[in-house]
C-alpha cells in the first residue's frame, strides 16, 4: 500500500485517439491521485466521453499510455479493467432494463464472483455461499443509493433519477478504486441533483474512492471537485482548483467565451431584419 501513495492512482500519458481522420483526443496527460474527486469539463465534442471510453477499455487508444496503480492497462479488454478496479456510469443510462434493480447490481458484482457453469448447475456450498454474499452486498448497495424499496422492480420501470442512482449502485458493486461518472446529474431536477451530489460526496468519504466525473452543471462541478481538468477539441487546456480554472482565460475563451460569442451572434441576428430590409445579400 505504501508504494501506491508514490504513484498516482491513474496516470494518463500522451493519450491520443482518432476516429478515422478525426482526432478526438490530442496528447492528453492527466494524473489522478488517490482520494480525489476530479472534474472533467469542456464544451460538447471536447472528447470527455471518448476519454472515459478509453479508460474503461471500450476503445483502444491510437497513441499513449494508461497506468492504473502503476500498472500499464493500455488496450486491456474492458472486463479486465473492471476487475482491476475501474467502474463507470454512462451519459445516456445503460441499465439492463428487463432485469430487476437487484439483478442489475448483481451484474455489477459479477467481476468479484467466480462461479462457473459447474458451480451454477451443481450449486455446491461454495457457490451458495458466494451467491448469498453477493445478494447481501447488492442489497447493501441498493440501500446505499436509496433504492432498497425498488429491489425487485425491473430497471426499465424506474424513474429517471432512480435509474441514474441504480447505475451508480451497479458500478459500486464491483468495488472499484476509481469511479468514472459520466454526467451523473444530467436531466435531473434541482432536488435530485442535490441528492446525487450528496451521494457522490458520501461515496468518496465512506468508501474511500477516487472519482473522475464529467459534468455540465457548473455549480455541481465547482462545488464538488477538488480539481478540474478542462478539455477542448481533444486537448487539455487547463487544470487546477475550481477557482483557478474558472478564472483561466483559455477556459473562458473556449468555454464561456463561446457562449458570450453566441449571445453576441444572437443579438446581431435579431438586428439583421432591420439592416437587410430591402437590401439583397
Amino acid at each position: 500500500m505504501s508504494r501506491l501513495q508514490h504513484h498516482a492512482l491513474l496516470e494518463i500519458q500522451g493519450l491520443s485517439h482518432f476516429f478515422g481522420g478525426l482526432q478526438a483526443i490530442d496528447g492528453v496527460d492527466i494524473s489522478l491521485s488517490e482520494g480525489l474527486i476530479a472534474g472533467l469539463i469542456g464544451p460538447n465534442g471536447a472528447g470527455k466521453t471518448t476519454l472515459f471510453n478509453i479508460i474503461s477499455g471500450a476503445y483502444n487508444p491510437t497513441h499513449g499510455k494508461l497506468l492504473f496503480c502503476g500498472r500499464n492497462i493500455t488496450g486491456r479488454p474492458s472486463h479486465r479493467i473492471v476487475q482491476l478496479g475501474i467502474a463507470r456510469t454512462f451519459q445516456n443510462i445503460r441499465l439492463f432494463p428487463g432485469m430487476t434493480a437487484l439483478e442489475n447490481v448483481l451484474v455489477g458484482r459479477h467481476t468479484r464472483m467466480r462461479a462457473g457453469v459447474w458451480g451454477a448447475v451443481i450449486r455446491n456450498s461454495g457457490t451458495r455461499r458466494e451467491e448469498h454474499a453477493a445478494l447481501a452486498k447488492s442489497e447493501e448497495m441498493l440501500e446505499y443509493v436509496g433504492l432498497k424499496h425498488r429491489t425487485d422492480e425491473p430497471a426499465g420501470n424506474l424513474s429517471y433519477g432512480d435509474q441514474r442512482r441504480l447505475e451508480l449502485g451497479r458500478a459500486l458493486a464491483s468495488e472499484p478504486k476509481l469511479l468514472l461518472l459520466d454526467e451523473p446529474t444530467a436531466g435531473m431536477n434541482p432536488r435530485e441533483t442535490a441528492m446525487m451530489t450528496g451521494l457522490i460526496r458520501k461515496i468518496r468519504e465512506e468508501l474511500n474512492l477516487t472519482i473522475l466525473l464529467i459534468e455540465h452543471d457548473m455549480r455541481v462541478i465547482m462545488g464538488i471537485s477538488d480539481r478540474v481538468t478542462v478539455l477542448d477539441h481533444g486537448s487539455k487546456i487547463a487544470e487546477g482548483t475550481p477557482e483557478a480554472v474558472q478564472k483561466n482565460p483559455a477556459v473562458i475563451e473556449a468555454y464561456l467565451g463561446k457562449q458570450a460569442g453566441a449571445l453576441r451572434l444572437k443579438r446581431r441576428l435579431r438586428e439583421l431584419p432591420g439592416e437587410t430590409d430591402g437590401a439583397p445579400a
Binding site: 428487463g98 451484474v107 467481476t111 451454477a120 450449486r123 425491473p154 426499465g156
Partner: protein, 331 residues
C-alpha cells in the same frame, strides 16, 4: 449491515429458486407424467417421446437464443453431430459398439466443441448477420453428412444403430423410450434453470440486453458467448444420441433446416427465455399436428392459422420469462 428479517430471508430463497417444498412439487409433477404411457397407449406414448426430444432441443436452443440472445438458425447441426457421433460409434458401420451411456457425455462434448467451432467465427457478429452465418453452418453440416459417403454412408444413412441397454435390459418399446426421454427432459430443464439463476445466467441476460454495457460492467462477452453456444449445443448433442438410438437409423434428411426452424418456433410460441414456455411450446408445436390428423389435408393449414392467431394475441409467447416481458413492452 443490519440483521435481515425473516421476510427478506424468504425473498433471498425465492430468488435462488428454491421456494416452497421442491420435492412435493416435483412429485406432483412426476407421478402423472410417469403414469401417462399406461393411460394413453403406444401411439401417443410414441408421440410424447417425440415431443420430449423437441423439449430437450428447445431447452438447449433456449440457452443460446433465449438466455444469451444469440440467434442461432443452424441449431440442427449440433443435433446431427450428436446423432451421427453415436451412430458411427454404435452401429455396424465401422463395427464399433460403444455403450449408449458412455456415448451420452462423449456426444455432448463433441457437440459442444461444434458449438465453440461455430462460435469463434461469429463472435463479433450480431443479430441478422449471426442468423445468416449460423444458418449456413447448419446447411454445411447436413451437406457434409450427405456427401462424406465413406464416413457417413451418405444419403443411405446409418442403419441398425444400437438401442440403449441397462445390464440385460434392452430399450425397445415406446414406453421405455418415453421414460428415457422424460429423464432427459427433467435433467435438461433442471440444468438450464440452474444456469439461468446464477452468475452465468445473469451475465447472459445482461449481454442479451446490452452487450456493450455488459462488457463495461466486467463481463467477458466473448467467453460467455462461446459458453452459450457450447452449452446450447451440448443439449442438442444429447438429444441427437437419444434420437439416433430410438430411431435405429438416421439419414442426413432427418437434420434439415426445418428442425432448426421448428425448435426456434416452439421457443417463440412458448415464450422466449422461459423453460415452462419451451415445454408448452414443444407440446403445442409438435403435439398439435398429431391431434389434428383427423383434418387430413387441412391439418397444416389449421395449424398455421392457429400459430398466426396465437402470435397476434400473445406476441411474447404463452409463458414468457419475466425479464423478456419487460424488454418486449419497451420495444
Amino acid at each position: 449491515m443490519h440483521v435481515t428479517s425473516d421476510a427478506e430471508n424468504r425473498n433471498i430463497f425465492r430468488r435462488l429458486g428454491s421456494s416452497g417444498p421442491p420435492w412435493l412439487r416435483l412429485t406432483l409433477l412426476l407421478v402423472p407424467l410417469s403414469l401417462l404411457p399406461l393411460i394413453v397407449g403406444n401411439y401417443w406414448t410414441h408421440v410424447l417421446a417425440h415431443v420430449g426430444i423437441y423439449i430437450i432441443l428447445g431447452i438447449g436452443l433456449n440457452v443460446t437464443v433465449g438466455f444469451a440472445g444469440l440467434l442461432d438458425l443452424g441449431y440442427v447441426a449440433f443435433f446431427a453431430i450428436g446423432a451421427y457421433t453415436y451412430g458411427l460409434l454404435a452401429s455396424p458401420q465401422f463395427g464399433y459398439h460403444v455403450p449408449f451411456w458412455l456415448m451420452i457425455p462423449v456426444c455432448a462434448l463433441v457437440a459442444s466443441m461444434g458449438g465453440v467451432l461455430l462460435g469463434i467465427p461469429v463472435l463479433r457478429m450480431r443479430g441478422d448477420y449471426l442468423a445468416i452465418v449460423t444458418l449456413g453452418f447448419g446447411q454445411i453440416v447436413r451437406i457434409l453428412l450427405n456427401n462424406l459417403d465413406g464416413l457417413t454412408n451418405g444419403p443411405k444413412g446409418l442403419l441398425r444403430i444400437d438401442p440403449p441397454s441397462l445390464g440385460n435390459f434392452q430399450f425397445s418399446t415406446p414406453t421405455h423410450y418415453y421414460y428415457l426421454i422424460l429423464a432427459g427432459c427433467i435433467l435438461a430443464a433442471f440444468t438450464a434453470s440452474r444456469l439461468n439463476q446464477s452468475r452465468v445466467g445473469r451475465a447472459w441476460a445482461a449481454m442479451r440486453e446490452d452487450q456493450d454495457a455488459a462488457a463495461l460492467m466486467g463481463i467477458n462477452v466473448l467467453k460467455y458467448k462461446l459458453m452459450a453456444f457450447a452449452i446450447g449445443a451440448c443439449f442438442a448433442g444429447i438429444g441427437g444420441v437419444i434420437f439416433a438410438a430410438r430411431q435405429g437409423s438416421i439419414f442426413p434428411d432427418d437434420f434439415s433446416l426445418m428442425v432448426s426452424i421448428n425448435v426456434l418456433c416452439l421457443i417463440i410460441i412458448g415464450g422466449m427465455g422461459s423453460i415452462p414456455g419451451v415445454i408448452l411450446g414443444a407440446v403445442v408445436l409438435i403435439g398439435i399436428p398429431e391431434v389434428l390428423r383427423g383434418l387430413a389435408l387441412y391439418r397444416m393449414l389449421a395449424f398455421g392459422a392457429l400459430l398466426v392467431i396465437m402470435m397476434i394475441f400473445r406476441p411474447s409467447g404463452f409463458l414468457p420469462a419475466a425479464r423478456l416481458k419487460v424488454e418486449m413492452k419497451r420495444k
